[in-house]
């Protein structure tokens, strides 16, 4: 047992013991599950004499989470031992993760399933703490609604959310993303033929990538009107420069010896480009595609703040804030988060298929 594990076990057990002592004074049948968890947590101190498996900690953390979620509001004003139980359950989950990662450490590659468990435990813990704190401490929903409220809102306003998703994602983000990335790619290939243009455009492209291009959103709304065209235009402008810069860098990625080989094959410019240089640029191009996937969604939503028809994620967020319908706003954010992550994930998956030869993919880490 490492020093950290020792302290975690000691504090978690001790805290449960203290909370259990405090909880005894309340009527017996109130929050029975929570008391059971605290008692078991107290008993986990036995580990200092008798080894306890790491799954015991997992079970304790899970029991604690369930007990906490079911007993919110069972006691009138939330008592101190309730919060101590929350901290205790969190410490048990931490201890579990700590022990699991130690157990997994010697064989890093052949445990994808168990390895996934660790970030999942972290995510679950975050959600449980969020739910328990917002409801247990009566945080005003205007400030931060509980995850369950957001979930209910997600289910209730599914048609609205879907319409917004279509307007923002399908109509604005995807065309803008496709046009921006394709034109960046084409311009990069054209520029690549002229060293003079390359020397001139590359520093400017690098500079433009660092600029707050999103600021052109109001101008685009003036030029292209309120509907999706102006949002797509913002997305094009935002995605163009990262693509340009990355592709130009990628086209230089093939080594001289490989290009010499193509020359000995008497390959012409296009054959060299299609069979050697573009595939070699793959990792760079996908890097830009991944950067752009997030940029595109941000660009479309922010552009909707500057004027939009009465549908769209940015519109819903800005009006929801005005009406203090914060749970709807959070539902919209959840949709945006899922859409953004899925978009990124799809591109990462395609990358694994296309650039399967690259060391970063062969090593099993994307």
């Amino acid at each position: 047992m490492s020093q950290l594990q020792f302290f975690l076990a000691l504090v978690a057990g001790g805290l449960s013991a203290a909370a259990f002592a405090l909880s005894v004074v309340t009527p017996f049948e109130q929050g029975l599950l929570l008391k059971a968890f605290l008692a078991l947590g107290f008993m986990s101190l036995i580990r200092f004499f008798l080894p306890l498996g790491l799954w015991a900690d997992a079970a304790l953390a899970l029991l604690g989470a369930v007990a906490l979620l079911t007993t919110i509001g069972a006691f009138g004003p939330t008592p101190a031992f309730f919060w101590m139980a929350l901290v205790g359950a969190w410490l048990f989950s931490w201890l579990f993760v700590e022990r699991l990662s130690k157990a997994l450490a010697p064989r890093l590659s052949d445990n994808a399933g168990l390895g996934l468990l660790i970030p999942m435990v972290f995510g679950m813990a975050l959600l449980v703490i969020w739910e328990v704190v917002t409801r247990g401490a009566n945080v005003p929903p205007v400030l931060l609604p509980a995850p369950s409220m957001i979930g209910a809102q997600l289910a209730n306003s599914a048609p609205i959310l879907w319409a917004d998703f279509v307007q923002t994602f399908i109509k604005s983000v995807l065309p803008g993303y496709a046009i921006g990335c394709l034109s960046g790619l084409v311009v990069a290939i054209l520029v690549d033929r002229s060293p003079f243009l390359k020397a001139g455009l590359l520093p400017i492209g690098n500079f433009m990538s660092a600029l707050p291009i999103i600021g052109i959103a109001p101008i685009m709304v003036m030029w292209f009107g309120f509907d999706w065209q102006s949002k797509a235009a913002v997305v094009v402008a935002m995605t163009f420069f990262p693509m340009l810069v990355n592709t130009v860098a990628g086209l230089n990625a093939s080594s001289a010896i490989e290009r010499d080989l193509m020359a000995t094959y008497a390959a012409d410019y296009w054959q060299t480009l299609m069979k050697l240089r573009l595939p070699a640029a793959g990792p760079f191009i996908f890097n830009a595609l991944k950067i752009n996937s997030t940029l595109a969604l941000i660009g479309a939503i922010v552009a909707e703040f500057f004027g939009t028809p009465i549908v769209g994620m940015g519109f819903r967020i800005s009006t929801g804030v005005g009406r203090l319908a914060i749970d709807l706003v959070w539902a919209e954010i959840a949709v945006a988060a899922v859409a953004g992550s899925a978009f990124y994930g799809v591109i990462a998956l395609i990358e694994r298929g296309v650039t399967f030869w690259h060391p970063s993919v062969r090593g099993g880490r994307a």
């Binding site: 660790i118 020397a199 001139g200 455009l201 660092a210 969604l297 922010v302 914060i326 945006a336 988060a337």
Partner: protein, 289 residues
């Protein structure tokens, strides 16, 4: 000289294209104006000059934007609400505060992640996932939400900048702190170095190049965060507010001026980080590249 000439050529081309585009895009409105004023047969050179001198052009000519910047900075008192220097300062202060907080948070997280396998496995996937969330899009909402509990002014905007800038720093620093090779770590062990000494004398110096590379990305992105988070509160001031009011009033020259100032700020901030990098490199005895 070899590097400056191509850049200047491209810049010149951009300016020329801009002026030509300004003629084309403003021509419609200028025609309407000239018809109203019963002006006919305006020679092309006069017409071009007219399109470059409109009050609310679709695309203002570069000299109009530069004139506006001059009027709104040098010609005005710095405390005036119309001064771009005043608004630029508001944006700059939240950018810098957010950047410092974000870098500190990023370095701290990276240190924890490098030294603790459990936090590496539980935090890294979520840190990466957190960046696929378009948080920038809800920046105005966060500002309003924090305003409801009495946190107003620079701090909520700085929080957005912090959220955006911590990510490149974490990822870069984790890479940087792990860059010492096994042989170097072994050497530290043969010296009987404590973990603390290994950190300060090996890992930290080895991470410097990555730190500065990610700080350059981070400061540019925290400026973007600051500008966007200003969009929610028109009274608070800042370059984002200039963009917003400009778009409501159709003041295109004002929008472009604010954009130019934001671009200049971004360039200066990235350059400052670059200078700090050179200075640190020199102190650490690195050979100039």
């Amino acid at each position: 000289m070899n590097r400056v000439l191509p850049i200047l050529t491209v810049l010149l081309a951009i300016v020329v294209i801009w002026y030509v585009a300004a003629i084309g895009m403003n021509a419609n409105w200028q025609n309407t104006l000239n018809t109203r004023a019963a002006l006919t047969n305006v020679p092309f050179t006069d017409f071009a000059q007219q399109t470059w001198a409109q009050d609310r052009p679709v695309l203002p000519a570069p000299h109009q934007v530069i004139g506006e910047i001059w009027n709104a900075t040098v010609a005005l008192e710095i405390t005036s609400k119309r001064s771009l220097a005043y608004h630029g300062w508001i944006t700059l202060s939240s950018t810098l505060l957010g950047f410092v907080l974000g870098t500190a948070l990023g370095v701290l997280l990276a240190i924890i992640i490098v030294h603790n396998e459990a936090s590496n496995r539980s935090l890294m996937p979520w840190i990466i996932a957190s960046q696929t969330i378009p948080i920038l899009a809800i920046a105005p909402m966060v500002v309003v939400g924090l305003g409801a509990v009495g946190i107003t002014g620079t701090v909520p905007r700085a929080l957005i900048s912090m959220y955006l800038s911590f990510f490149p720093v974490v990822v870069g620093m984790v890479k940087g702190l792990r860059s010492p090779e096994g042989i170097q770590l072994d050497l530290m062990r043969t010296y009987d170095a404590s973990p603390w000494q290994t950190f300060w004398k090996l890992r930290w110096p080895a991470a410097m190049p990555m730190l500065f590379a990610s700080m350059k990305v981070g400061i540019a992105i925290s400026l973007i965060g600051a500008v966007v988070s200003e969009l929610s509160n028109a009274a608070g001031g800042g370059l984002g507010v200039r963009l917003l009011t400009g778009s409501y009033n159709g003041q295109t020259i004002q929008i472009w001026a604010a954009l130019f100032i934001a671009a200049a700020l971004a360039a200066v901030l990235v350059m400052v980080v670059g200078f700090a990098e050179t200075a640190v490199n020199r102190r650490m005895g690195a050979r100039p590249a």
